[in-house]
Amino acid sequence: MEYQSPASIDEAVAALAALEGARVMAGGTDLLVQLRSGAPRLGAIVDVKKIAEMCSIEETAEGFSVGAAVCGAQLTGHDAFSRAWPGVAEAAGLIGSTQIQGRASLGGNVCNASPAADTTPALIAARAKAEIVGPGGRRIVEVEKIATGPGKTSLGKGEMVVRFLLPARPARAADAYLRMIPRTEMDIAVAGAGVSLTLDRGGVVADARVGLGAVAPTALVLDQAADILTGTKLEDDVLARLAAAAGAAATPIDDKRGTIDYRRKVVGVLAKRAALIAYQRAGER
């Protein structure tokens, strides 16, 4: 099996096009586990960690740009990013152990397309977009458009995510991510919810967005969230409506880690609690 570690995006795109069965590798925490269990169609590995833009975090007037291969430890250790996007940072910080944090990337988490990926709902709530390059050039898509089903993405042959773009934050805006796992560490979400809120001067929600994880074949955008939350101060009846909408949007699987009813209930509770955390954080800004 061939291994290449190109230093530029153009070289990486060329390598992905030229090598039969080539796959992008960032931290390898999904890919190398799959390789070990005999992943089919893995013809070559294109390691993108020598590409500077894919491993750096930048803040501009338009917001943050986070390289798709930036590892969790690097992201959570970036103070300005964690201040602007505490929910995305906490989602990234939940992935695996300290050891996994030293490698696991947002690009890998989103493109591995596990329904339970922790950063995807948080990135959806953040209205993050992915910059994708490939043989056909560059395009920018919303994060929720990448995964199309468990292990499946909308990326074309030879395409890869270069970076994630998170919009600039107005005053009184904050996010939060919560997941439910049966243990306290090192487990896969039974359900997850990311919430991003912007408040007006009076503490009334002016903008809201909610992403749900592990309760459908892909992470979901909770479309009704903006309608339910905008114009409120998260009163009890509002939160009850949010929880009900989250539960109703969920189409979870039934397995030993949680029944359908349980996941529906839990995802609503998580959405509610994450909304309250985001609200408190936004109010403190």
Binding site: E2, G96, T98, Q99, R103, E185
Partner: protein, 160 residues
């Protein structure tokens, strides 16, 4: 497919080796370089027995390819302390009986050293979260946590 030539630094020494793409750092350390202190428990990132430092960052040797080691600095348990001059973490693991079969110990030593290098005075909660990716079937963890706390105190004393 010819083997790939890699030059890297392991425990301060320049090292060159040949490996195939699918071989992990763990495979290379144990099978090619004869550094068998680093253990394989699961091979899938779950147990931490293969913990090593790469450019100062704690990672699983089983989830990194040998070819990725090119130009990096790797530290394994063999590079921490020496038989006649144990690192405080190693000394306290012995004194506090923080091991039984010992299979998990190298991984814990490397992970605990990395913790104390970045956070010299961790709380018990911080220690437990930091070490959550290191599994131990024998000790029940309490003695391990105590050994790390004692090592932190010892290292603080040495500095003063």
């Amino acid at each position: 497919m010819p083997k790939i030539h890699v030059s890297t630094t392991v425990n301060g020494d320049t090292v060159e080796f040949l490996c195939e793409t699918q071989e992990t750092v763990l495979d290379v350390l144990r099978n090619t370089l004869g550094l068998t202190g680093t253990k394989e428990g699961c091979g899938t990132g779950d147990c931490g027995a293969c913990s090593v430092l790469v450019d100062g960052r704690l990672v699983c040797g089983c989830l990194m390819l040998g070819v990725e080691a090119e130009g990096k600095e790797i530290v394994t348990v063999e590079g921490i302390g020496s038989p006649d001059r144990l690192h405080p973490v190693q000394q306290k693991f012995l004194e506090d009986a923080a091991l039984q079969c010992g299979f998990c110990t190298p991984g814990f030593i490397v992970a605990a050293k990395a913790l104390l290098d970045s956070n010299p005075e961790p709380t018990e909660t911080e220690i437990r979260y930091w070490l959550a990716g290191n599994l131990c079937r024998c000790t029940g963890y309490d003695k391990i946590v105590r050994a790390v706390q004692d090592a932190a105190l010892e290292m603080k004393g040495q500095q003063a």
